[in-house]
Amino acid sequence: MLPPNFEHWDAILKGLKESLEIAVLASFFGILIALPVGLLAARNLMPAWVSWSARALIAAARAFHPVIVAILFVKAIGFGAIAGIMALVVASVGFIGKLFAEAVEEISLKQLEGVRATGASFAGVIAFGVLPQVLPRFIGFSTYQFDSNVRNSTMVGVVGAGGIGAPLFVAFQRFEYDVVCAIILAIIAVVFLAEVISARVQRIFGA
């Protein structure tokens, strides 16, 4: 296994780049979708039928491991990074949506009432009464999920959904353990980088 073999560094770099792209895009769309889904799932803001529908959606998104979801997407839309992105979007909506809905359900109703009593529209109540109370936590969940997406984006390649996972799997099957070792070291570096980035983001937003 040692020393690591970086001979195919260009392939490793290409795989890593694709993994990171998968993680970033999946996080972006996942966060974008999780925000409204989480709000809809909050029982203190929405009528029961709305929050239950949103909760059902979140539960479905959380039902399977991202790699299994990736298999489903590979089957549905074919091999490649798009399937990986979709799988991690689903995972992000499930995780952020669930925790965000719980955070919204814990907000202070007094503060909300103060805004509601001014005759503010629903959108106004959300923007001035709800989000200021939960934004730091939302950012916390989102950065955590970004971290998680980076890790998982190295895995979905194993089932053909793009990223560094594919070359890792191939090297493993060919018993090229020095290449496996090189790829693993590269993944560690990227995951570490993601950790640093999300810590930065959290610090900026005071989450």
Partner: protein, 253 residues
């Protein structure tokens, strides 16, 4: 009385079927001045105030305001009516993580589009007015401070500014000084009365402190068991009448 700013007709409220907290209550509020509602704990003061802007759903009766029955409004119409009624709370009910300025501008949310609300884009005249109001309540220079960094008295000043920012035609206040020390209470009541008078807004305020009510109200309404048992000017509120409102008299001496 000239055309009343608010007319409550035969209002009843029961939180649980058959258990009435307000019983067939009628009350008119003049277009000017401070009306204080006093009464023992549980007599229905908060319920009465909150029925008016429908933070609590009335069970029966009518509440006439600007030519409409508030009890029948729904959705956008209800929000429009609420925008014309300012409310000041005992625990201020500011959004803690927003700045003083944002809390005051909340009073204009009913008038800006959802997109502008999300982008925090308020018309310049709103922002100017907010600055002026903050000056009037004695908080100029505090615009960018977060609400949770203020003292109780300062928070209530922001609460009052937010309510006046709505340019309301009626101001409701539910025990606005009950979380404050006696000196601050007097300052806040002075501010509430003078600001409302300056903007020609009638005030309906719940109070626990009878002396404070006597001092600041033009009219006192005594509530007991969900019905009005006294209604008159402060000087008519004798010990005997007080005993009638609160029950017994040993506590008076």
């Amino acid at each position: 009385m000239a055309q009343a700013a608010l007319a409550i007709r035969n209002l009843s409220k029961a939180y649980a079927p058959g258990q009435f907290v307000l019983r067939d209550l009628s009350l008119e509020v003049a277009p000017r001045g401070v009306t204080a509602i006093i009464g023992p704990s549980g007599s229905g003061k908060s319920t009465l105030i909150r029925c008016i802007n429908r933070l609590v759903e009335p069970t029966a009766g009518a509440i006439l305001f600007e030519g409409r029955d508030l009890t029948r409004l729904k959705g956008a119409e209800l929000r429009r009516a609420r925008a014309r009624i300012g409310m000041v709370f005992q625990e201020y009910n500011l959004v803690e993580r927003l700045t003083v300025m944002e809390n005051v501008l909340t009073g204009r949310l009913a008038y800006v589009s959802p997109l502008k609300a999300w982008l925090r884009r308020f018309p310049p005249e709103d922002i100017e007015r907010a600055f002026r109001l903050l000056d009037e309540v004695g908080l100029s220079g505090y615009e960018r401070q977060r609400a949770d960094s203020l003292s109780g008295g300062q928070r209530q000043r922001v609460g009052i500014a937010r309510a006046i920012m709505q340019q309301p035609r009626l101001l409701l206040a539910d025990e606005p000084t009950s979380s404050l020390d006696p000196k601050t209470s007097v300052e806040i009541m002075t501010l509430l009365r003078d600001l409302a008078a300056g903007h020609a807004i009638p005030v309906l305020v719940n109070m626990h402190d009878v002396e404070l009510a006597r001092r600041f109200a033009d009219r006192i309404v005594g509530l007991a068991g969900g019905a009005i048992v006294f209604d008159g000017p402060p000087h008519a509120l004798s010990d005997a009448r007080l005993a009638g409102i609160y029950g017994g008299e040993s506590w008076l001496h």
